[in-house]
Amino acid sequence: MYIYLPIAEVSMHIGIIIGLGGGVGFLSGLFGVGGGFLMTPLLIFFGIPPAVAVSTEANQIVASSVSGVLAHMRRGNVDFKMGAILMAGGMIGSTLGVALFSFLRDIGQIDLVIQLSYVVFLGIIGALMLTESLRTIIRSRTPGAARGKLHQHNWLHGLPLKMRFRRSKLYISALLPLAIGAFVGVLAAIMGVGGGFIMVPAMIYLLGMPTSVVVGTSLFQIIFVTANVTLLQSIQTQTVDFLLAGLLLFGAVIGAQFGSRAGAVLRGEQLRGLLALLVLAVCVKIGYDLVVRPEDLLSVELVR
């Protein structure tokens, strides 16, 4: 059964849409990530216009983040104060990102920028995660290895506007999370992701937050950033496909339940290693498409 998507203006088999939602939902449940970095390229691959894929995915991530953050809130794993600062930065960043998106679309370079962002950021994060998980796996097999300090102090801790974050046990400048939030917000708007895969490492390595609160806090701020992207894209470009988001969501909710059950079987560093391979695979695929000669150098687009 095919379904005509009113905003994307393409017709797609309903099984493919729900299957995509379910498959990506499974992986996101398994690895504890939002899955936007998989879903957006897949939607584009299946013929959804890039602008619609990015905006619609933002809408879907609002739902999956709400669903995910509730469990973390119950366990008290959300630093609301830190989340609020990150969110403030995220709002600024995502607003800039949506404006940048419109501009790049107008000059015909949005596809290129989306692809380059994916290659660069997935490449960096994938490589870092892979080496980190391999190191952990090796270290766990050689007992008695020395542990590093909880977090290092450097010039970033000399910035003004210091604030105390009790839940994260930190006393740092508010400018740092504000800047990180803004940076990830720009990427979220352009790449159609929540940005957790950049936010989480940034919170651990740049801010020095305890790992127990990073995922919950990241999810908390992603809700607001992706909601902002959804609203702004709705107003400026009308590219949020409500029907597509709803169907993806339906699949994702079910897939995530199975994924999180499957994830309980594997160990943390093994999961991170597998996730790293998945991230690198997406990076390589998109990078390959950029360097290989297109079948037809000319392409057309109808002005609606």
């Binding site: 609002v62 739902a63 709400v66 959804t230 709705s234 409500f242 150098l297 392409s299």
Partner: protein, 273 residues
């Protein structure tokens, strides 16, 4: 008489009715061609995945006559981009905007177009998506700095495309299925009746369409008739589309509320288990 009997067995009652109707007037006014569509309105509903329409009609023909049928969509600007390799990757370096080109152009015929008439004959009858002469504005961004940037369009006057550029546009529009030529896709009977099955793709642009039928003899169009066809979004898909465009802020808020509510529901539903 045998022709009449054969026809009664094979054709739909509607067709026969139409043939009877035109049988009289045809005698008085030769060279007439009349046609009708099985449905002059195409609704793009949520379950739309392309559709088939039947076009049927009658003409006063002779052996060797041909019919060409043109389904033309609303005019639109078509952006065409050219990629080139910059710093190892393929990027868009040139943009053309073809002005007021047909968004959809399907040609059906009783034979190959080339054996019906020549370029001149097609041009005289305005058959072909570029028959009315298209022009474009063009701009290059071939500065070679690797990632493009700068203004993609010059503000210069419109330029008409040369044959090679027109072929490129034709190839691109054929690849996405919006421009097609389907030879030998019209079936005639007794040089009097004809029918064609119009297969409309799932990516059909909504808008006002014109359907023209032309009767050709010896390379010249003897007569022509045009009917309108309306392609529009309908039902839920129209509702969502209009909501998104007419009340876009409200639509965005609604999409957010829906997402928050369903995320909440999902968490609650699976927590109880």
């Amino acid at each position: 008489m045998t022709g009449w009997l054969a026809m009664q067995r094979t054709l739909a009652p509607a067709l026969i009715g139409l043939a009877m109707l035109v049988a009289g007037p045809v005698m008085a006014a030769p060279k007439q061609i009349v046609a009708d569509l099985s449905n002059s309105r195409v609704d793009i509903t949520s379950s739309y995945h392309g559709t088939e329409l039947l076009l049927f009609g009658a003409y006063e023909g002779m052996p060797g006559d041909d019919i060409i049928l043109v389904v033309q969509g609303p005019a639109t600007d078509i952006i065409q981009r050219r990629k080139a390799k910059r710093a190892g990757i393929w990027v868009n370096v040139e943009t053309k905007i073809w002005q007021q080109a047909p968004s959809f152009y399907h040609v059906f015929a009783t034979d190959d177009l080339s054996s019906i008439t020549d370029e001149q004959g097609l041009g005289n009858a305005s058959v072909g998506p570029l028959s009315r002469g298209l022009s474009f504005t063009s701009g290059t961004d071939d500065s070679g700095n690797g990632h493009g940037g700068g203004t993609p369009l010059s503000s210069g006057a419109a330029i008409a495309g040369n044959p090679e550029q027109q072929d490129n546009l034709r190839r691109n529009m054929q690849a996405n299925g919006l421009w097609q030529v389907l030879p030998s896709s019209i079936f005639t009977q007794q040089d009097m009746l004809f029918r064609a099955s119009l297969s409309l793709p799932s990516n059909i642009p909504p808008g006002e369409y014109s359907v023209r039928v032309l009767h050709f003899r010896d390379g010249v169009a003897l007569s022509e008739q045009a009917t309108d066809m309306n392609v529009r979004k309908a039902g839920l898909s129209a509702l969502i589309y209009r909501f998104a465009h007419d009340y876009s802020a409200l639509y965005g808020i609604f999409a957010i509320i829906f997402a928050v509510a369903s995320g909440w529901l999902a968490a609650a539903a699976f927590r109880r288990k």
